[in-house]
């Protein structure tokens, strides 16, 4: 029931999916070199997105690490049952969810840049690029960045406490690993680092939003060539 017996449908499907999934970056080659303030902003934007690319690739690798840890866990559990001896490694279980945490916390910025989060493109699809840039710029600056500021403040407080800062805001030692929050389980991993990662995640998130604001600004001053805006052919698949 295939059309051509020799054709490789899986590969074809993969190409279609890739075409649908890949975010299209517009205006990567600048028409004229940026000068003055624009040059500085452009450099800041590029610097931020370099970090984004690195953490984005890292989260891809972490997906496989999470799998490796999960598989290790299953195997040790079965072996433990088989030889009826307790070799379940609590640390690995903790490491597993912490790695998953790292996967998406370090990927927040990548998600923002690649627009993996959905928009309702009911009207959006028909807006002009300038209208889109205005909507994003205004809402990013007036509401989202303040939110991220609040988020940074509260998560920093949370992380600092977990890293051993005392309630009267003193740091007892710079060697935080001696005083950071331990696990409530006997063989669990310390909670300090993952709580710090919550803060780091929001730092990355906020930095990429700054880059998005700069890019929207470029679109509005007519330098779309510098903006490298992401657009999708399709809604990103979410299942």
């Amino acid at each position: 029931m295939t059309d051509r017996p020799d054709r490789d449908v899986t590969e074809e499907a993969e190409e279609v999916l890739e075409h649908l999934e890949v975010a299209h970056h517009e205006g990567i080659d600048p028409i004229e070199p940026p000068r003055g303030v624009i040059k500085v902003l452009h450099a800041i934007r590029l610097g931020i997105e370099r970090v984004t690319s690195v953490t984005g690739s890292l989260s891809m690798v972490l997906a496989w690490v999470v799998f490796g840890l999960g598989l290790f866990n299953v195997i040790t559990r079965y072996v433990a049952r088989f030889i009826s001896r307790d070799i379940i490694v609590g640390q690995i279980f903790d490491l597993q969810w912490m790695t998953f945490g790292a996967l998406f916390l370090l990927g927040f910025n990548y998600g923002v840049r690649e627009e993996v989060n959905p928009r309702i493109d009911f009207w959006w699809a028909n807006f002009k690029p300038r209208t889109k840039a205005w909507i994003d710029l205004i809402l990013h600056v007036t509401l989202l960045l303040p939110f991220l500021w609040v988020a940074l403040a509260v998560t920093w407080n949370y992380a600092a406490t977990a890293l051993g800062r005392t309630f009267d805001n003193r740091w007892l030692t710079w060697r935080v690993w001696e005083v950071w929050e331990r696990s409530t389980d006997a063989d669990g991993l310390a909670r300090g680092p993952i709580k710090l990662l919550l803060f780091v995640g929001f730092v990355l998130f906020a930095s990429q939003i700054v880059a998005q604001v700069i890019k929207s600004g470029f679109v509005l001053i007519g330098r779309k060539d510098l903006a490298d805006m992401t657009s999708h052919v399709a809604p990103v698949r979410i299942e």
Binding site: T10, A13, A63, G111, L198, R237, I238
Partner: protein, 468 residues
């Protein structure tokens, strides 16, 4: 009306307005919540020091063992979709059932069901079936509406049958166990699949010309090779499904650990496909060329989709956590819960109203948004009405069926979109949209049956929660 409650209602309206103009949904959650925490502070109904509990809630999401299942099942699906399995199943079962009227359509549904239980990936299933079966059905003279309808409907079953992202997220938001929800959704999912098969055969026999039988000249696979192909394609996937679901249902492994087993199984299956193909070719099969599937690119792409989907879901979850917290503190939750609980008709009234609401939202929104927007509103009302855990699972299954309709409801359903991207030119978009309608009716029928006979979900739950 209380100032806080009024504010929370305004907050909701502002949020809807913001997502309608196309601002990122996750950002809209965060932005409106921040704005209204500020306004609430000025009007003296919100104490900003309460914001310091947010990290604790976020950390709860990071360390939630149920959400940990997401990367495993996504990775498993991403590998399977590149393993060539869908292709083999479609060829084998299509050839097997082709001689019957409507047989190819039924084969598509059966393959869709098998893939659904193994992967939970809608897009890939719809696209592969669209590339492979749609041209074949068009050539055989199938009615275009029937041909497209079976593809979108059965591809979308991936969301209904465990393991699926929809069920994992619904379980997390509803506060029911993943195991229980998976068990409760299994029979209802099979019920839907059964209704689709009945419809495909029914209409093909009732209306001549909608689903003709495959002529002899089309049957390129026969006899021993066909039998082997059926065995080689069906047995591994059945083993994989059984391994994953049984290890969850027996309580041997947590859902995430079963996911790990599933990923390992998917890798094995992709490797095994190469050797069975070689074996078949050695036996004289000409319809395939053996191909090594586990390339570096495949592994990289699989990691990429896993990261993308995890980031997407968790960003939304973080933002909606803030939103539902504000909604709670301002008093909106209590107010809507009271309103929903006193809507008349008790539990029945609530179920009817909420199902209508979800259906209406489903016309324009996708399942993720619906899950994160309405479930936090429903849960307090359900607690107020005294829903037991079993009733919560039943309600969640109803919601899953309802969300299934959102996937294929024209004009914005995801599945329709995927099929459009690969449909041959003679299949019109209008046909794809019209083709989905009878299947939406069937989903509606399934929803009604399950609503009137909660025993089906209960039975499914009782049969498959083998642990107790």
């Amino acid at each position: 009306m209380d100032v806080g409650v009024f504010l929370s209602m305004v907050m909701f309206v502002v949020f809807i307005a913001m997502i309608l103009i196309g601002y990122n949904v996750a950002f809209s959650f965060a932005a409106t919540s921040l704005a209204f925490s500020f306004i609430g502070d000025m009007l003296g109904v919100f104490d900003p020091t309460r914001l310091s509990v947010l990290p604790n809630r976020w950390f709860g999401a990071v360390s939630d063992p149920n959400l940990l299942a997401i990367p495993f099942f996504v990775l498993m699906g991403a590998i399977l979709e590149r393993s060539g399995m869908a292709e083999r199943l479609l060829t084998a079962i299509g050839m097997l059932m082709g001689p019957l009227k409507g047989g190819v359509a039924a084969a598509v549904i059966i393959v869709g069901t098998l893939l659904a239980a193994a992967t939970g990936v809608v897009a890939a299933t719809v696209i592969v079936m669209g590339l492979l079966s749609l041209p074949a059905m068009v050539r055989l003279g199938y009615d275009h509406k029937l041909a497209t309808g079976v593809i979108v409907a059965s591809g979308t079953l991936a969301q209904m049958l465990p393991p699926s992202l929809v069920l994992i997220l619904l379980a997390q938001q509803m506060g029911v166990g993943i195991l229980g929800l998976f068990a409760g959704a299994l029979l209802p999912g099979l019920l839907m699949s059964g209704l689709y098969v009945l419809y495909a055969f029914g209409i093909s026999y009732a209306k001549p010309g909608t689903g003709p039988a495959m002529p002899k000249s089309e049957r390129s696979l026969t006899g021993g090779i066909l039998a082997l192909e059926v065995l080689f394609s069906v047995i591994p996937i059945l083993l994989l499904i059984v391994a994953v679901l049984v290890s969850i249902f027996l309580g041997i492994a947590t859902p995430s650990e079963s996911g790990a087993v599933g990923v390992a199984g998917a890798l094995l299956l992709a490797v095994g496909a190469y050797f069975t193909d070689k074996f078949l070719v050695a036996r004289g099969a000409t319809h395939i060329t053996p191909k090594w599937r586990l390339t570096y690119k495949t592994l990289k792409e699989a990691g990429r989709s896993t990261a993308n989907i995890s980031i997407l879901v968790m960003t939304l979850l973080f933002a909606s956590t803030f939103f539902s917290y504000m909604f709670l503190i301002l008093g909106g939750s209590d107010a809507t819960a009271n309103w929903l609980a006193n809507i008349g008709g008790g539990k029945t009234g609530f179920v009817v109203v909420s199902m209508i609401a979800v259906f209406l939202l489903g016309i324009n929104l996708e399942f993720l948004e619906i899950t994160f927007i309405v479930v936090p509103i429903f849960v307090p009302a359900m607690d107020l009405l005294g829903f037991t855990n079993a009733e919560k699972i039943w309600f969640t299954v109803l919601m899953a069926v309802n969300l299934n309709m959102a996937f294929i409801s024209p004009p914005v359903g995801f599945s329709l979109f995927y099929l459009q991207s690969v449909a041959p030119p003679e299949v019109k978009t209008a046909d794809i949209h019209k083709g989905a309608l009878p299947f939406m009716v069937l989903q509606g029928v399934a929803l009604t049956i399950l609503a009137f006979f909660p025993g089906i979900v209960q039975a499914s739950f009782d049969i498959f929660t083998l642990a107790e």
